[in-house]
């Protein structure tokens, strides 16, 4: 996730202090990983240097948190370009899971057990997300759903691999 673009986007609704920006970010996007203050200020310094934001005012008391930032026209264009550009799909071609399965087969360890315990671990996390979804608002639900669909895709891969273990064992030990 591009923190810089996200903070810029949040500034489009009006100028804010660094602290306000962090709070707005955490509230909407930082469910599990709130932004560190240091990251906000270093990002804002970079955006400022690139002319994407400007300091609209500095309140008495000094310190970086007192700066009030506003987005520039160049910043608005930058956000627009970022939103319009599709993200590169991540195919996860060389996953740790695949490597573990192959290594288990190569070394004569029970690969089926590995897949079973991975399935149990995936489902444990899926249960946690499902519970969180049930008690959350729509934003929570959408974030959890995104994670749940990805975990489900992993699980389908685990099932398929479990069904093809003998075939894979024959190939990797050839």
């Amino acid at each position: 996730m591009s923190i810089g673009h996200t903070l810029l986007g949040l500034l489009e609704s009006g100028p804010r202090h660094g602290y306000d920006l962090k709070r707005a970010f955490d509230e909407r996007f930082g469910h599990d990983r709130p932004l560190a203050y240091g990251q906000v200020y270093s990002t804002m310094a970079r955006l400022l240097k690139n002319g994407l934001v400007e300091v609209e005012g500095i309140e008495p008391g000094g310190g970086p948190e007192r700066k009030r930032y506003a987005i520039t026209d160049a910043g608005v264009t930058d956000v627009e370009t970022w939103l319009a550009r599709p993200e590169k799909p991540e195919p996860y071609l060389q996953t740790t899971l695949y490597a573990k399965v192959v290594l288990a087969l190569l070394t004569g360890r029970p690969a089926a057990d590995l897949l079973d315990s991975q399935r149990a671990e995936h489902l444990r996390l899926m249960r946690e997300l499902t519970r969180r979804k049930s008690s959350g608002d729509l934003a929570d639900q959408l974030i959890c759903d995104h994670a749940l669909f990805h975990l489900e895709a992993d699980l389908r891969w685990l099932e398929l691999t479990a069904a093809r273990l003998d075939q894979l064992a024959a190939e990797v030990t050839r």
């Binding site: 399935r119 995936h122 249960r127 049930s134 749940l148 489900e152």
Partner: protein, 231 residues
């Protein structure tokens, strides 16, 4: 979960075998269900998970092994006894609601109570309350053919729970629904089962549906692996 949850199993299958002709559907399956818990039975198509559900619910009789429900062995009961047990203690939800098309949704939900001898007025009042709880109170007077798939499944869940069963057997209850409707059915089913203390045996091949369970067992080639961890 109640105290009973942590002690006696409510339902326990041990080394269950079941064949149809020469095809072995179950080849040593095992499963333990405690009061109030939701157990997902997962596995690929044809793995034997529906057959396991049918054996657990006494719909079919296992060829060998034991299926004990509150201390009684279903495999040695007569058809009549198993049938009575299904009426009094079990509730069922299938992939396609299996509602009676000639009856209204309200009358469908009232069926288990009517079979148990409850008077029509009382049965329909309770059925109406369950339809409200499942958020389909507005379709009470409609016939199953006149409601959507999601609404029909919620009517089926109401029918499964109306008589206060100890176990609800749900076989791919969201299999014919889109994601949103499927999740709504699962949320309402598990919340209602939790509130009433009913256990749920949930057969599904969908991980997102299984995520509504407390734990899962995996059936593969007629054998099951129970992940129960007694803490």
């Amino acid at each position: 979960m109640s105290a009973e949850t942590l002690t006696e199993p409510l339902l326990q299958a041990t080394d269950v075998h079941k064949s149809y002709g020469r095809t072995a559907a179950l080849d040593g399956a095992a499963l333990t269900v405690r009061a109030g818990e939701v157990v997902a039975v997962m596995g690929p198509s044809g793995s034997g998970k529906s057959t396991l559900l049918h054996c657990l619910a006494g719909i079919v009789r296992a060829d060998s092994g034991q299926v004990r429900y509150r201390g009684r062995d279903l495999t040695t009961m007569s058809d009549r006894e198993r049938s009575a047990l299904r009426r009094t203690d079990f509730g069922f939800v299938f992939q396609f609601g299996q509602l009676v098309p000639e009856l209204t949704c309200l009358e469908n939900v009232a069926i288990p109570l009517r079979l148990a001898g409850t008077r029509r007025r009382d049965a329909e009042a309770r059925a109406g309350a369950w339809l409200e709880r499942l958020e389909v109170g507005d379709v009470a007077g409609q016939r199953p053919g006149e409601v959507s798939g999601g609404q029909g499944q919620r009517v089926a869940v109401a029918r499964a729970l109306v008589a206060g069963p100890r176990v609800v057997f749900a076989d791919e209850p969201t299999g014919a629904l889109d994601s949103l409707n499927g999740e709504r059915v699962m949320r309402l089913l598990t919340e209602a089962a939790h509130d009433t203390g009913a256990a749920v045996v949930l057969v599904t091949h969908e991980a997102r549906v299984a995520a509504y369970s407390d734990r899962e067992i995996v059936v593969r080639d007629g054998k099951s692996r129970d992940t129960e961890r007694v803490s």
